[in-house]
Amino acid sequence: MMFRSRLYVPGNQPRMLINAGVYGADMVVLDLEDSVPVAEKDSARDLVAESIWSLDFGRSGLYVRINSDPDDFVLDLGVLNEKCNGVLLPKAESLEIVELLSGLLAKTEEAQEIEPGRFIIVPIIESAVGLENALAIASHERVAAMTLGVEDLTADLGMHRKDEDALLYAKSRIVVASRAGNAAPLDSVYGNFRDEEGLLAACLHSRDLGFEGRGAIHPNQLDTIHKAFAPSMKELDWASRVVEAARAAEAEGIGAVTVDGAMVDPPVVKRAERIIDAAKAPGAVLDLDPVPEEEVAE
């Protein structure tokens, strides 16, 4: 399951739904929340449900961003079928709401004879309370990834800036809570879809912080996101040697091993394995090197 890129598609726009699967996003997110006016929620549910049945979303994982109010998301879950991989839960603030949603997803899986646990939950943290409860939320067994919603979060925190420096604590908190809860940390969207250079810089910063992917509001952002989150050839070479050395050490019963003069311990092996997994991802751009070689950590 890859999370490098997630393309948000308004659930009430037929033109955008039709093409959603052709761009190669790791996640296509059919949106029933903020991009859909309240008066059109019912119409969007019908359209999203029919599109899921009818359209081919290619290699993209298929997700639905449901509404945050349980009275609404009960209705939203009616669009899911076995082609879907999960839901994004906006304004997630507590483990209780995740547990409520998980129970409803279990019933949906049972009713449609879908393998239990297929539908994952990706909570979107958008408030101070949510940020404080991020570890509990990320620890739920259905939560495979977690992200944040910058607009609502900065408003709730009373922040006057939304740049990367101002958001450093919140973003790092998401990364730490996600990793501690065994979920993939995903960064928010980059709002200016015409600023490719700014997007690349933002994605590389996301990667530095520990995020595994970034959201997209426009298909033309996807190549840049994939480029930023793909491992470089030098990283891949390092990761391969680390994993090989660790395996050899384990086979020989040796406790400590070094690669390029640096100690290889379990966290280093884990990081190397993540790099190899990323390199195996469909669409990974391995012939490009988004990170200057001198910045590659060893």
Partner: protein, 88 residues
């Protein structure tokens, strides 16, 4: 069995979309259907409308379809929404 009890609509006249309008009408003979589209699309649209009307058990009212090049799934969705909004 159900009938359309109020005027309602779903969809838009935007490209790749379809506007479906429904309204009350005589019961028992099935809804009166008016399709505004390119000639080549008419039979396909009428078939989908009839399928949905049949599956929803709609026995009366009027349905107007203004197609702007919508794919089948869009028409099915807009029809379901309009009929539900119309009281079916």
């Amino acid at each position: 069995m159900s009938v359309i009890t109020v005027e309602a609509e779903a969809g838009t006249e935007g490209k790749d979309d379809v506007l479906v309008k429904v309204g009350p009408g005589d019961e028992g003979t099935g809804p009166r259907v008016d399709v505004q589209c390119k000639p080549l699309s008419r039979s396909s649209i009428e078939r989908i409308v009839n399928d949905i009307v049949s599956s929803e058990g709609v026995t009366g009212g009027s349905i107007t379809v203004v197609d702007k090049g919508a794919l089948d799934f869009v028409l099915r969705a807009r029809l379901r929404t309009a009929l539900r909004r119309g009281g079916c």
